[in-house]
């Protein structure tokens, strides 16, 4: 089945959930007007990135009785939605999470596993890490979600791929830095690994990065969709808000896997065995 994806690259307002929710509902309506089947928002779209000590005020629980989630769940009756938010659990732990909403229900929650605490990042000071990495079924196909730093770990797309994901969705709040070349350094790095993931795993990679500035940190945008042969099929501009659509031709998965049968040939038992051996050795050291 072919379908259409919308990438909602926008600038959330830091700590203002109501304003962001209004923006998000507007972008969902626009995506529907473009006949999109799925709209993807960036990491922490509901809250802004540097929430720091605001985490408790901006958090939501992904349930219909949460006033911040109810309108999103409602909207998902018409279009599938991937959205980044601060999740509070029943024991008051806070996570950077991504929700896949469809048909008025939460299809899947992925919590950010890798919380960076280097350079300009301090996620783990404020948030608890996710402890699972799972692909899940959607009406459009099997997908897996990664949140920003998760995608810098090679194992994340690998595990999701092995778990059956044909669509790797990366929600990001990636800061732009490095202006010594024709392209922004952070854009070049991200493009390189996303293309590599798409081509090596022969899956679709769907990347939604935010734009805007928080205390001098500029998020660079450049959201994109990459086909299973590594070809860029949609690309949002850098630094500017944009709603960018891409047509997904599911048959591209079949064609790419005939051309490059890495999925068929992947020796996951061997990988499991070797990782088991390595983990055991590390434990005994």
């Amino acid at each position: 089945m072919n379908f259409k994806i919308a990438l909602a690259q926008f600038a959330p307002r830091l700590g203002d959930v109501n304003a962001n929710l209004t923006r998000i509902l507007g972008l969902i309506a626009q995506s529907r007007a473009h006949n999109a089947d799925l709209v993807v928002f960036p990491e922490l779209a509901l809250t802004g990135y540097y929430v720091k000590d605001l985490q408790t005020q901006v958090a939501a629980r992904p349930r219909a009785d949460d006033p911040r989630f109810a309108p999103l769940l409602d909207a998902s009756r018409e279009i599938d939605i991937v959205i980044g938010f601060v999740e509070e659990d029943a024991r008051y732990r806070y996570f950077i999470s991504a929700a896949y909403l469809s048909a008025g229900r939460v299809a899947h929650i992925q919590r950010k596993v890798y919380l960076p605490t280097y350079r300009i990042f301090d996620d783990a000071r404020f948030f608890a890490p996710g402890n699972s990495l799972r692909a899940f079924d959607t009406r459009l196909g099997r997908a897996g979600m990664m949140i920003c730093e998760d995608a810098w770990h090679l194992s994340t797309p690998y595990v999701l791929w092995m778990d059956g994901a044909d669509f790797l969705i990366d929600l990001s709040a990636s800061p732009g830095y490095g202006v010594s070349d024709a392209e922004l350094a952070s854009a070049m790095s991200t493009d390189a690994f996303l293309r590599a993931y798409a081509e090596l795993t022969t899956t679709f990679v769907i990347y939604c990065n935010r734009v805007g500035i928080e205390d001098g940190i500029t998020f660079w945008g450049g959201s994109c969709v990459i086909a299973p042969d590594g070809a860029m099929i949609a690309r949002a501009p850098q630094f500017e808000e944009a709603l960018t659509c891409a047509e997904i031709d599911r048959d591209a998965l079949r064609r790419a896997r005939l051309r490059l049968p890495t999925l068929r040939d992947e020796q996951r038992e061997l990988v499991r065995h070797e990782l088991g051996r390595i983990a055991k050795r590390e434990l005994s050291q």
Partner: protein
Amino acid sequence: MNDLLKPLQINPDLARKIIVAFIREEITRVGFSRGILGLSGGIDSALVAYLAVEALGAENVTGILMPYRTSNPASRADAELVARQLGIATRVIEITPMVEPYLAQYVDAHPERSEAQSKERRRGNVMARARMIVLYDQSEALRALVIGTSNKTEALLGYTTQFGDNAAAIQPLADLYKFQVRQLARALNVPDAIIAKAPSADLWQGQTDEGELGFTYDDADAILYRLVDERRHADDVIALGFDARIVQRIVALMQRNQFKRVLSPVAKISARTVGADFLYNRDWGK
């Protein structure tokens, strides 16, 4: 160009795009539409003026010229040239009548420390802080935020007066080395004479930054880039062929002046302390 500066080269289009958006966003999101800056006639404030005009429009940028009686008249002429080229309004506010009584009574008459250098430094700091008072008062008068003109080289060396020239609402150039400031200034067509002249705080006659520092900006930039951006050890930088005395002096200046780059330490008493574990961005809710 010196080969050692090659890694510092920037793509001016990208830097310009990021900085222009930064000025516009960080000023308008807090409810302002205008910016002001101290226009000295030097390259840093000239470049900030060009970027601010691109971000806010010439009608929303005001240059404040704050000469002292010993200031080089050429500085003022250069500042006026920038204002004319950009079509921005200027205000000339002499600081001489503000600072002179204080300097005469408390600095010149009572040099607590005998060295001439200490007196010069005190005079220079008083002038820099008087300019800060003017800028912040004009900020209120014109409903315009103060746009800073610090660069990364002076921030790292601490070649700045705390609460003086480094006081600003936003800092568009503070992550660019002097070498990169020059490169960006050329791309924005800042007048050549301003780019080419010897940088000077113009706090006393004949003062130049490089003369006072004891090394050139090119040296400082090449060394700082390797120490700070590439995170090399000082010994490693010396082994690359840089003058050991300059490297050591730069390391010492960086460390000694860390206090100028942070908020003052707060004696922690309570469960939650401003500056320590009360953590919010400036842009919170904006």
